[in-house]
């Protein structure tokens, strides 16, 4: 069975600037794939090309096996999208907006509109005019309109833009539910790493129009764990580092006032005792939990070019 989204050698050139450079990836069924990248990296442009909003310079996009350039209507039927902030008709109610988009498809009934509204949690405010909606409500309505036709794939570009912590949490729960309950696949982009961390099955890192790598979160974490998964935070890191190296014969890395190394728990206990004996002040010690932020900055730092 074909994948829900297949992107091959996708390129977008604006004049002399290459915004998206030969990106290829796919999204598996029921998966949440995250696009991670700095502002201007090419995430939005890629997603706009996938949705047919921007023309493709070269490459192909297949949605459920249908080519978006040669078979647009068929392909787009399976996608629901939300690019940045949703712009809705302010003079219509939430229901009116949904009804408008629903009427463009065949056979979407009123019950469906109400269902979609309740999924995003807007049932109580449907009959208010959209001009009176808060940003969070607009965002939720934006997601609702993407769900009207039961798409197999959702393409969401910065869907948590401008939401507060509560709002973000709700969206995350909503998206996770969609995947679990309906098997919807989601392609989501953000530059907020904590969101991506908790949401995505795989993460694709985009920088300067290129796809750097695409791995599951665990895979990324594992790679950087090679630097050392144990740490002690001390007052004199350099001195402590030397001591550990000499006495335990292991490689260390210094990161600020943290000394990083690979050691078992028992060894860690011994190291702490040794450091204390040498009058090294110890503030804390334990397992390193690399945040996606550290890894991201690391990866992007290695690959960034000044163009």
């Amino acid at each position: 069975m074909e994948k829900v989204l297949q992107v091959e050698n996708l390129t977008k050139v604006y004049g002399s600037r290459t915004a998206v450079d030969n990106i290829s990836f796919s999204v598996n069924n029921g998966e949440i794939l995250g696009f991670l990248g700095a502002n201007g990296a090419g995430k939005s442009t890629t997603m706009k090309m996938i949705l047919g909003l921007t023309s493709i310079t070269s490459g192909d996009v297949y949605i459920c096996g249908k080519n978006i350039q040669t078979n647009f209507e068929s392909a787009i039927q399976n996608v629901g999208g939300l690019i940045e902030t949703p712009y809705l008709y302010p003079y219509l109610t939430g229901y009116g907006n949904l009804k408008f988009y629903a009427s463009l498809y065949k056979g979407i009934k009123k019950s469906k509109i109400l269902e979609v509204a309740s999924i995003v949690g807007l049932s109580k405010r449907l009959s208010d005019k959209v001009r009176n909606y808060s940003l969070g409500m607009k965002q939720r309505l934006g997601i609702a309109q993407a769900l009207l036709h039961d798409p197999k794939l959702l393409v969401l570009d910065e869907p948590t833009n401008g939401l507060d912590a509560n709002g973000i949490k709700e969206i995350k729960m909503l998206l996770k539910r969609l995947t679990k309950e309906r098997g919807t696949s989601i392609l989501i982009s953000s530059h907020i790493l904590s969101t991506m961390e908790s949401l995505c099955d795989r993460i694709a890192i985009i920088d300067n129009g290129r796809l750097i790598e695409i791995k599951t979160l665990n895979e990324i974490k594992q790679r950087y764990a090679q630097n050392g998964s144990t740490y002690v935070k001390v007052g004199t890191p350099n001195f402590a580092g030397k001591l550990i190296q000499e006495k335990f014969n292991i490689k260390v890395g210094i990161c600020g006032n943290k000394v990083l190394f690979n050691a078992s728990e028992t060894d860690l206990a011994k190291i702490i005792v040794m450091l204390t004996q040498n009058k090294v002040p110890i503030f804390s010690a334990g397992e390193v939990d690399y945040s996606l932020e550290d890894m991201f900055l690391n990866i992007v730092g290695n690959h960034s070019n000044i163009s």
């Binding site: 787009i76 999208g81 408008f100």
Partner: protein
Amino acid sequence: MKVFRLAKAELNKLFQRPAIFLMAGFLVIALVLVSFFYNPTLRTDTRINYQGANTTEIHTQFQTEKASINSELSTLVDSINTLTYNLNNQTSKLSKLKNLIANAEGAFDNFHAELLKDSKNINNMRIKLEAYKTKILEIQTFLSTIETDIDFFITLSQLNTLKTFFERLNKDIPSNTTNYSVDNMIELGNFLALNRNFSDHVYPTINALKEMKLDATEVDKLVEKYYDNILLNDDSTLKLYENEIEDFYYSCIGSNEDEDMQVLNNMFSNYKSIVLMAKESLENSFTLLKVKDISNSALNGHVGFTSINKYELQETLTKNTYLLDNGKFDIEYANNFNFGSTAGFKTSAYDFTIFAMQILTIIIAVFCLFFGAGLIAGEQSGKTMKMLAIRPYTRNKIYLGKFLACIAFMLILLLISFIASFVVGSILYGLDLPSVLLIINANKAVVVHPMVVMLIYLASSILNLLFYISLALLLSVIFRSSTVAVLTSFIVYIVTILCNILMIKTSWFKFLPIAHLDIFKYFGGASSSGGFLTFNTIVDANLWLSLGYLLGIIIVFNLASMIVFKKRNIA
């Protein structure tokens, strides 16, 4: 079909906007204002209305005036025959002008020869010079008569060239040469020969002038058709009608009943109407014969033909011929519909409706422009387009859906306004207008119910508005700004109205699309004002040409819009 589904959705969206009530309000207020300020100029009643105590008295009045009525036509025939004869026997004005110039040239040659003689006689030189000047003055006098009485083709600029030349020449020749020596004379002669010679300055213009060509047989046919058959022959139209008059008179001779006198007066009017129609027909067909090889726009640059409109002449001719052939001499009937600000003898609902619609159509046009521009440019700038472009509709279908919504919106507004205007008009002015004589494309006369004319007017308004909508959509797609689209379209609208008022007559004007926007003018006459807001000037075109051009432009605009829209990167 999908496109219709989108159009319907867009319309539903529109009718949920609060602005809709504003629009409705505007139209209602406009209709009310129009109703108050409508003040049509009624036609002056030129029917004969002899006053008298009984039918005998008025009949006598008629008899005395008959001759002068008839002479209107016979005088015209005389002048036509004279002109034709002159043209075909070399006594036209052009021949005369050429002769005058040739004579003047001869006078100059005499003068110049005198200068070259061995025996220089200053007196003879003076005499010959004076003779030359006299000839120049003759030419100048003749040139000044050309404006009022012309029988050849000369453009204004050609006439001015000649006038300017002879003015200068006149100035260069002093009227008093008593102080001149022989040498002065010789100097003058050389100067004139070098700088004021005819071969450089006069003959190029003269040789370019066109003689009018009149085929005497054709003219005879016209005279026969509109004079002999109508006035002269024993069984002519006029003679037969005269018998009718006499028959009726003898049936009520001496009667002092108002009714009888009224009928008699009407019959006198009809009699006069026959003569006048015949005269107008003869005049028009003769003029058309004279200018049949020249286009209207070219013609208007010629002296004596500046205000001629061949279309109008043909139209009146068709109307009169129809009326004469069908025995409809009633002067009231003879006026094909005169809707708008100049009504018939009395106003009716039909007059009012057309007038009201003209005002309302401007308002409707503005609304449609805003709606259309908003659908395309507004959504782009408002960024709702990105929510629409990801639906299963190709770009073409999205565009067509919006275009259809515009058309539907326009039709709804037009129909409601039309019905409302008609209802108001019926209440205020009644429905009393019997059949109307419609002249289509200047060559087909047909009698129709006035409602048919209304519907044709409606159709023409629809086409007119379609042009502006298509223009506004095209500008919307290209410039992505509602303001630019609406403003520019409205400026084109104003320019069109201005061109109408200024009655542009340049030869290139007919190539512009705005010269062909109003189809209604081909039905019944530019002279019968469709009103001051429709575009009435006919320019070297006909119904099919304008219709084709208009439809073509509309299609081209929309195709261009679709092509550009397809390539747009949205968001």
